[in-house]
């Protein structure tokens, strides 16, 4: 007899059950139950946002190099558990080829963003030649806590593609996984947990996006929302909910399997530009020529 795995959620580096005590059953293509998954609730959103907020300082102040190391570690850990993920995908109805392809893209995508960690700043920053005796520069800083509703049509690909640029940029995340294809999300949490990622940087909840998104979008301590391939109504209601604290809302209609669905714009969408001024003292008339 198979031992059915119970998938818990991932909050603050822990794997608790949902506060609501609810679960739902995920079934394979033939209608056989594969797993029990948490049906997370508002309270889990609340806990996850708290954990994410707490982690903002730690994560955003890690050196870019260190963030890159940790992301690369994620890729290694995922590669090491490739078979498990392929199995989960196939259980959820994909062919082996398609599953293998998806996991390989995921690994590549993580490596891709691992490489960005210590580079995007150089592309997004500028030194601004102001017309006064000041040194003036602009640089990117993470927006803060980002709520992500993962692509609902993929189990891991959308999740990874949305999550990586956000955390590569130093943000922390509360992520709602695909409701119908949730398995990989929690397994991926296990990858994160073993990749030296500080607790709370990524928090993953399973359940109904429709139920949880309003809470996330209205949450005053969430700074941005990232939706993927969402229906117009969901976009509009999210944008309306986001108004109260002026969350940044990014909606991307992307085919995540495509290489064009990655890039620095996914990072820069969750960055704020900070401009700093400081006077330059000039003594006497000496110039740099000699």
């Amino acid at each position: 007899m198979n031992v059915l795995k119970t998938y818990k959620i991932y909050i603050g580096g822990q794997f608790p059950r949902t506060e609501s005590g609810r679960t739902y059953v995920v079934k394979d293509a033939n209608g056989n139950p594969i797993a029990n998954v948490c049906q997370s609730s508002k309270k889990d959103i609340r806990n996850a946002v708290q954990a994410a907020r707490k982690a903002v300082g730690t994560w955003s102040e890690r050196s870019a190099f260190n963030r890159g190391q940790i992301l690369y570690r994620m890729a290694e850990m995922l590669a090491g558990r490739k078979t498990q993920f392929i199995e989960e995908l196939t259980q959820q109805g994909q062919s082996i080829e398609s599953a293998t392809n998806e996991i390989e893209i995921c690994i590549d995508r993580i490596v891709y963003y691992a490489g960005w960690c210590d580079k995007y700043q150089q592309i997004l920053s500028s030194v601004n030649p102001v017309n006064s005796s000041h040194f003036n520069f602009s640089m990117a800083e993470p927006t803060g806590v980002v709520g992500i509703v993962a692509d609902q049509d993929t189990s891991l690909l959308g999740l990874v593609s949305q999550l990586m640029p956000v955390i590569a940029g130093g943000n922390t995340v509360v992520l709602i996984a695909s409701e119908v294809l949730p398995l990989c999300s929690i397994s991926f949490a296990e990858v994160l947990e073993t990749s030296d990622l500080p607790a709370g940087v990524v928090n993953i909840l399973t359940g109904s996006a429709e139920e949880m998104l309003p809470t996330l979008a209205e949450h005053m301590d969430v700074n941005a929302i990232f939706l993927s391939n969402a229906v117009t109504e969901m976009v509009k209601s999210t944008q309306l909910s986001a108004v109260d604290n002026l969350k940044r809302v990014l909606v991307m209609d992307s085919d995540w399997s495509h290489e064009s669905a990655q890039g620095i714009r996914y990072i820069s969408s969750f960055q704020e530009i900070k401009t700093t001024w400081h006077p330059i003292e000039q003594i006497g008339g000496v110039t740099s020529s000699y």
């Binding site: 601004n128 602009s138 700074n223 944008q239 604290n245 714009r265 530009i273 900070k274 001024w277």
Partner: protein, 481 residues
């Protein structure tokens, strides 16, 4: 001090107004022509320094907005988006040059219409506005170089709504990057300060810019709402209050309109004990009393390290004694008129709240004119973080002073606000400055300076202070796909 007879007062030194040309009545600038408002309604623009009427301004209705948007769309499709970028650049350069040629006239009108001291409009607002056009003009044919990692495209028609605190400068901040990026524009100035935008329309008319590329329409909130709700506008750029910014966000939810918002603030100005104290005092004065405190990034929350608080406050009060409040046209005026009666009432309301909250008020005992809207420079000490006056944006010459003991404490307190527009840090120690500047959640950080602006320097906020940047390379982004 002994009673001396060396008192030396500066006699009034009024900027001349004879050279300016103002019409009695201004229509709407649509499609390169001056058009009467369909409602035939006009409103008065008054001089807040003496409450006298300056001109009548057209009140645009929804149908006028529609006319303007249609003109902008047509100009976008037929002319501006297909014009060689280097030609676009030349038009923008030409506008910049014409503005320079009218600089003094623009400055005087700005001062008459808005109440700001002539010294500021002459030395700050107008030169910065001209420079903004100069700066962005050169970008028009280099856009791809600005964003080599993506295929850039203009957006279309931009609807732009600007505030009354820097009327011409904000018009420049909006129009210049929009045009450089290849968009056409429908701009609405604030109802109390339409005149320099209308003078700019005259300059644009004289520049030979193709009709409809820039349309300047005047009116009240309903005119602005008609712009925001117009279905054929691709981009809304707004500078103003957070409350209105949120209304705009709500109105555009679910549409394809791209939005940039530059909203309110309650910016912290932090003075550490090793600061160059006299320059810090000057920075505090410049931070809160510049433009009568009608500045979204005003350093309205002062945090002083306890060990120097007494000395700093004493120096600040001393410095405030040499601020001249009065006729904005006087070249020696440091603080001019409050922009409108409504704003004066808002300021007075907050000052009452401050007094009721038990804060200690200090005001300069200077004379102020009997007519017109004026408010004395004011500071409140003995203020808590939870006082209303240290949380809400007052938008006037009113400063709250709080003390702190440690750097960690002040970082937390400074960030403890829904806003995140700007912050100031004063210290002599580089490593300490960088610690603070990197931890403060604000879009503009002035270290050992305050309220500096430059066309090349991106400006804009975190959190409820808005999103998107204006100025610099980053400012182009708001007008490109």
């Amino acid at each position: 001090m002994t009673d001396s007879n060396n008192k030396w007062e500066y006699a009034p030194s009024l900027e001349g107004t004879k050279h300016i040309q103002l019409k009695d009545k201004y229509d709407l600038f649509i499609d390169g022509k001056w058009v009467k408002p369909s409602s035939n309604k006009y409103f008065d623009s008054i001089n807040p320094a003496n409450e006298e009427k300056l001109a009548e301004i057209a009140w645009a209705s929804e149908s006028d907005v529609d006319l303007a948007v249609k003109a902008a769309r047509k100009a976008y499709v037929e002319v501006w988006s297909v014009m060689k970028p280097s030609e676009r650049a030349k038009y923008i350069f030409r506008i910049a040059r014409l503005m320079q040629e009218h600089a003094r006239e623009l400055a005087v009108i700005e001062t008459l219409d808005g109440g700001k001291p002539i010294r500021e409009s002459r030395d700050i607002d107008v030169p910065l506005a001209c420079n903004h056009f100069f700066y962005y003009a050169g970008w028009a044919d280099k856009l791809q170089d600005a964003f080599p990692h993506r295929n850039i495209q203009s957006l279309g028609v931009a609807g732009q709504i600007i505030p009354w605190n820097f009327p011409l400068l904000m018009a420049a901040w909006k129009i210049a990057p929009a045009l450089a990026a290849g968009n056409t524009v429908v701009l609405k100035p604030a109802e109390s300060t339409s005149l320099t935008a209308l003078k700019l329309a005259e300059i644009i008319e004289a520049s030979g810019l193709p009709a409809g590329v820039v349309n300047i329409i005047t009116g009240h909130g309903d005119t602005g709402a008609a712009i925001v709700n117009h279905p054929d506008i691709d981009k809304i750029a707004f500078t103003g209050s957070t409350a209105v910014g949120k209304l705009i966000q709500k109105a555009v939810a679910g549409t394809a309109k791209k939005v940039s918002l530059e909203l309110g603030g309650k910016s912290a100005n932090i003075v550490l004990e090793d600061a160059p104290i006299d320059q810090a005092v000057e920075g505090i004065v410049n931070g809160i009393f510049f433009n009568q405190g009608h500045v979204c990034c005003a350093g309205s929350r002062l945090y002083v390290q306890e060990s120097i608080a007494d000395e700093l406050v004493r120096k600040l009060k001393q410095r405030m004694q040499s601020l001249y409040v009065g006729n904005p046209l006087d070249k020696n005026t440091d603080i001019g008129a409050i922009n409108s009666k409504e704003q004066l009432e808002t300021i007075e309301k907050y000052v009452k709240i401050g007094i009721n909250e038990g804060a200690e008020m200090f005001q300069v005992a200077c004379e102020i004119p009997g007519k017109g809207f004026y408010f004395r420079p004011t500071i409140f000490t003995n203020v808590a973080q939870s006082s209303v006056i240290s949380q809400e944006e007052i938008f006037g010459p009113v400063l709250t002073v709080q003390t702190f003991r440690t750097i960690d404490e002040v970082i937390q307190k400074a960030n403890n606000s829904p806003y995140g527009l700007a912050a100031g840090v004063w210290s002599d120690k580089g490593s300490r400055i960088f610690n603070l500047t990197s931890k403060l959640r604000a879009g503009v950080i002035w270290a050992n300076t305050y309220n500096k602006f430059d066309p090349a320097s991106p400006f804009g906020g975190y959190k409820e202070s808005g999103f998107g940047r204006e100025g610099g390379l980053h400012g182009l982004e708001a007008y490109l796909k």
